[in-house]
Amino acid sequence: MAIEDDVLVVGGGLAGATAALAAAREDVRVRIVSATQSTLRQASGLIDVLGYPPDGAGTEDPIVDPFDAIADLPTGHPYERVGADAVRDALEFFDRVAGDAYAGSHTDVNALVPTYAGRVKPTARYPAATAAGLASDPRDTLLVGFDTIPDFDAPLAAGHLEAAGVPFAVRGVTVSFPGIERDDAKVTRYAHLLDRNEPVWRGGSETGSRAALASVVEDRLAGESRVGFPAILGDDHATAVRTDLEAALDVDVFEVPMGPPSLPGLRLEDLLYGALEDAGVRVTTGVPVVDYESARGGADDRTGADSDRIGHVVVDRNGAAVPHRADQYVLATGGLVGTGIESDREQVTEPVFDCHVAHPDDRYDWFVDDVFGDQPYARFGVDVDRDLRPLEAGGGLEFSNLRAAGSVLSGYDFAAEKSGSGVSLATGYVAGTRAAAEVTS
């Protein structure tokens, strides 16, 4: 016996979750197996599609309309593999799942979101909590930092934004967060205080933490009509926290996305995993898929005699090997950082299905000396056909019932292009949709 499903998605990040959600629209049984908790909680929560062209990353101005730019992408880029229409469909799919929690769907044009370092990031979709802070909005802005959160230096960020030429006046102040004494309190602690509006000491009496925070900021306002905080304004009740602060201060309140660990990432995770639960997707987390058993394709296998089928995969549960069987599989295990692609001193590999990963033989050709240069390793991954099926070195299919999605794919540098979320959405959407279609056909 094995644990049986129709579609098995290996990996629970943005690509894996999207693939599972897309597949679950059909009448098929879908499961995600993820080695660790979803890494979405380390993500900014922004949905970037394409911020910079792949060849001029860092030197050129940000892309205004990512859909215009997709047509010019080189062969092998994940967007080229699935096509611009699939990217559009995937974004629409995301918009339906996210509902009011995300904004940006009204236009194809990239939005410009101020970051905690005072830069401006081109992105396609952003949390509703970030909406009032867009750099294209001309209203004067106050950024509020906290002396216990050194990752966000509000005066410094404000200075950087002014130097970047934003079309509004921006000022930064640093205050103490009521109810927090420690320098290294966890971001979840701030969010928990505000979520539960826990009483804190303020001016000699106990006040709800939301009112206490508003009163600290009120004194520092000088006519600005919007106020930006680091993204710690609640977790489960983030909208209520922001609305309360807006009412108390009579200004618009927005969050500046932060590095990991990231509450907007946590909220996105909650949103997607809530949708997965509603869709009946089964989720197994905390155990890795370590191996597979193949089952030769039959004579009538339309993909040809050379390609194997995956029979079942093996999940390692603290030493016990637990078989999981499905008809179709999606590989969404992440890239070099997410360990979906691994490297040692000899070679670069894809560890679960041992799919081919093209890379120079000489390790010294894997990188260039300029740290911010065009790094070959950034594009390492699995080559796929237009159906997202991994390819062998010779161009044949690795397996007839496997598709790959997200940063395990080769041919793009998500960090330089600012395309990570968009590629995960588009390829996850296509891989999940086609996997389910094969089950039902």
Binding site: T36, R182, G286, V315
Partner: protein, 450 residues
């Protein structure tokens, strides 16, 4: 899985062949003395993303707790310096082990916490202090339970007295807010012996049941349910000799006690494996302990073998039997119409947090509502300590709210202490998944008198 090396003599020169050949290779000892565990590879894997901190239920409610990243890799580095003490806040860690499955680079966080806590208790804690005595007592509940179980009615009466609870708080620091769990009038082992051992003999399908202390002394109904469900599928049930799994000892830094218990368990369970049995547990902390903590902390001969052949009761049936087909058309009593399920942290860490809902959905007439990923907050002995009671309840608050919001007034979980906390915070009766399976699969077959 941790990649820490658990061999006790790692790094020590091997001079097996040195006598034979004078020019044999003699490795140089780089470090001054061999360490029992080399946690360095794990510490080096930590790139400070702090994801573990966002998962820590204690850090979320207690600003004074520095979090798993500090308690693990950072403290490990700090204490390379001889004059550096282990920070006492390590005792605030509840050993829920959530940080383990949060880590994207497999840093063995809970292993680091367990070793740091052990070192703190050994080197820095006053063994005459009230805290030490209390912790030792709580950690070694297994030692006291047999006595109480001998006179269960007396024990239940005495422990239920408010004066005794008051005294427990004043003298030992055991919170008077909680009611002590009742001792069963007949332990599971007594029942099993009295019924003449297993009712099924089957050399092909055989399991060794690690019942743990709680199912034996306090909730034998859970253990009986396991026996009946497994016998329903034709399994022969062995009940080997066993000691405490060690979980409460790890959580209190009593590693020497845990080692003694683990040695017994590994020996006995390895013996059962040789008889062709797989090891099955009904408590998620027991399985966590056998599967993960033993290989991380101990190096008895069969530690790894026992770990690799230990299964959660429900998980084993799902893989080895067609459980869903067996449940098709099954009916249960109306006490299980609507249940609210809490997945224990130690199930979550084994990737088992979703299986109960999946199986319950296969039974007609049961609506199982998942409370989501909140931690119950009691964490074994943690919530019993007077100074931790409030933290424990603050962590549990989210679970209580979800329980209240769900359209059910019966609880379901696989962890005995989570079960206590669920009852304590909601007033609902709380069952074990095996009891529901027993009702669905065995039902009236079960002889009420056995």
């Amino acid at each position: 899985m941790s990649d820490a090396d658990t061999t006790a003599d790692a790094g020590r020169p091997t001079d097996e062949h040195a006598d034979d050949e004078n020019d044999a290779f003699e490795p140089i000892e780089v470090f001054p003395e061999a360490e029992s565990m080399d946690l360095r590879p794990g510490a080096d894997s930590c790139y400070k993303c702090s994801t573990c901190d966002t998962n820590c239920p204690v850090a979320e409610v207690d600003e004074e707790f520095p979090g798993p990243k500090f308690q693990g890799p950072e403290q490990w580095r700090l204490k390379r310096q001889d004059d550096h003490d282990i920070d006492e806040t390590v005792m605030k860690c509840s050993n829920c082990m959530r940080c383990d499955s949060a880590c994207p680079t497999d840093v063995p966080l809970s292993q680091m916490h367990n070793t740091a806590r052990g070192a703190y208790v050994d080197d820095q804690m006053n063994t005459l202090s009230r805290e030490y005595v209390r912790n030792r007592l709580l950690a070694n509940y297994r030692r006291l339970a047999p006595l109480a179980a001998t006179f269960p009615r007396t024990a239940n009466f005495v422990m239920g007295l408010s004066a005794v609870r008051w005294l427990g708080e004043k003298t030992l620091g055991i919170t008077s807010e909680r009611e002590f769990p009742e001792f069963a009038t007949e332990t599971f082992r007594e029942w099993f012996t009295a019924r003449g051992g297993a009712h099924v003999e089957n050399p092909e399908k055989r399991i060794a049941y690690f019942h743990g202390c709680y199912a034996n002394f306090n909730t034998p109904a859970v253990a009986k349910a396991l026996v009946r469900v497994y016998e329903h599928f034709g399994y022969e049930v062995l009940v080997p000799e066993q000691d405490c799994s060690g979980t409460p000892m790890f959580a209190n830094g009593m590693l020497a006690d845990a080692r003694r218990a683990a040695e017994t368990n590994v020996r006995e369970l390895a013996g059962a494996l040789e008889e062709g049995a797989d090891v099955i547990t009904s408590c998620s902390s027991c399985s966590m302990s056998l599967r993960q903590e033993y290989p991380e902390l101990f190096d008895f001969v069969d530690t790894e073998t026992v770990a690799a052949n230990t299964w959660d009761a429900l998980e084993y049936l799902r893989v080895h039997e067609d459980l869903e087909a067996a449940l098709e058309g099954a009916a249960v009593g109306e006490e299980f119409d609507d249940v609210v399920y809490h997945a224990p942290c130690h199930s979550r860490n084994q990737g088992l947090d979703s299986q109960t809902i999946e199986v319950m959905n296969a039974i007609d007439g049961i609506e199982a509502h998942d409370v989501g990923d909140s931690c119950s907050g009691i964490s074994g002995t943690y919530g019993w300590k007077a100074e931790r009671y409030e933290t424990s309840m603050a962590i549990g608050e989210e679970m209580f709210e979800h329980m209240a919001a769900a359209p059910a007034e019966t609880g379901l979980t696989e962890c005995p202490t989570c079960s206590m906390q669920m009852e304590h915070g909601s007033g609902y009766p709380v069952y074990h998944t095996l009891e529901v399976l027993e009702a669905a699969l065995v039902g009236s077959e079960a002889d009420g008198t056995e």
